[in-house]
Amino acid sequence: MFAVFVLAISSLLPASFAGRVSFVPKAIVNFVLIPTTTILHGFSSSVRPPKTLPAANINTFEQLQAEYAAATALIRQLQFESERLRDENDQLRRYHELNGSANSLHIVRTQVSGSTQPPNPTLLISKGANHGIAIGNVAFLDGKLVGSIRFTTPLTAEIKLINSQAVQLPVVFKPTVGDIPEGSEEQYDLTLNTEDDGQTFFAQIDKDSPVEIGFWAHLYDRYNQYWPTEAKGLIVGQIIDIIPDPTNPYLVNRAIIKPTIELQRLREVDILVPDQN
């Protein structure tokens, strides 16, 4: 009876305090599970690999031609950008050598060991605080936002995925995936769509908004309220549909955004870890 009483109290503790109570047993369970679940998750990912979802359909041939021209122009632009960045990188390296230290980022690539149940799915990874990973670090893969670190132990960590509840996703919509948000664009807040069990997000846009199907949602937290600076520009998803908003169908549209990777089936993720010198 005493155990039941203690567990009942523990069940109703505030989240911050409950997290401290559960830290040590959770760390032990994660540490013990990682060797086996890494192998099993790898096996399950190889049997059912994550799919990269196709881009939204463009209907007309003229639009396809326009897309091709835009893609060719983008490739040329990226080539110029690549040369410019190479020069900039050389300059930064020289600056770093002259000044000794600077804030920079490094990327920690890690394998995914397992995942947890919805409605707040997480990924377990086999690297933790010993590798510089801290709560709040951003997880991404191939430029696409995966989530943020929710829990760390010395050797393991948990990533809260972007399709968990209570995740804030301020975004800007850009027509192509390579565009970097400039800060002057209109910012939208994505809401998790509970009607399809968190597979998509939606944003309310004006009827006369230039946003169209196929636009890409880039994370852009202007004042770094929910996401750090290094997360700006990471892709949250792509607009797959625009429908009248059920709450105000005559004035507002609802843009449906779907992540282009299957978040829970990932085999590896990259973690952006700021260096603090």
Binding site: A3, V4, L7, A8, I9, S10, S11, L12, L13, P14, A15, S16, A18, G19, V21, S22, P25, K26, V29, V32, L33, T36, T37, T38, I39, L40, H41, F43, S44, S45, V47, R48, S113, G114, S115, T116, Q117, P118, P119, N120, P121, T122, L124, R150, F151, E158, K160, S164, Q165, A166, V167, T194, D196, D197, G198, Q199, Q264, R265
Partner: protein
């Protein structure tokens, strides 16, 4: 009961539940949850071990389930699944005198009953947490009906898996070294 064997089997079931989740989980339209293999093990222990051992085993399995549950987006809450599993274990102990204990059909049916009790208890605690003067979790992040639906589908799926897993567990019963006296 041999607690070392129990720990090893529980570890294997837990590793399969977490590691193979993306392979064995239901589609999103059916809730997207993986079956609870620890629940099957717990019901099996309740059917075959002595009462106090069964309740301690259910408590351990419930605590482990709490540690891998992320119903609260910000932290891990210890208690709801532990109490749910204890309640389920107590229910099984009341019913086991009325059933054929060595049957996988019994195991599957009691897994369903135990799952329903456990999941209702877990959902009730997380709903209680949204009361402002208790834990005060954000209530707009919690949809009770949706969560009950997810859990119900998970329990059905777990019941189906109880047949093959129960068959395996009954085959390896001798290694658990249960010493329960049969009473009729």
């Amino acid at each position: 009961m041999n607690w070392v064997i129990f720990a090893i089997i529980a570890y294997l079931f837990l590793a399969m539940q977490v590691g193979l989740r993306t392979l064995i989980a239901l589609p999103e339209s059916f809730g997207g949850m993986a079956p609870s293999l620890l629940l099957i093990l717990g019901v099996y222990i309740c059917l075959t071990a002595r009462s106090h051992i069964a309740l301690w085993a259910m408590l351990a399995l419930g605590l482990t389930t709490d540690l891998i549950t992320t119903l609260n987006p910000d932290s891990t809450i210890i208690g709801p699944a532990a109490i749910g599993y204890l309640l389920a274990g107590f229910t099984i102990l009341q019913m086991r005198g009325l059933v054929f204990k060595e049957s996988v059909f019994t195991l599957a049916l009691l897994t369903f009953a135990a799952g329903v009790f456990a999941c209702i208890t877990i959902t009730a605690f997380y709903k209680l947490r949204t009361i402002p003067w208790l834990a005060g979790d954000a209530s707009d992040n919690w949809d009770t009906a949706n969560q009950l639906y997810r859990y119900f589908m998970m329990v059905l799926y777990t019941t189906a898996l109880a047949f093959p897993l129960g068959f395996i567990l009954y085959k390896i019963t001798p290694i658990f070294r249960f010493h329960e006296k049969k009473t009729y």
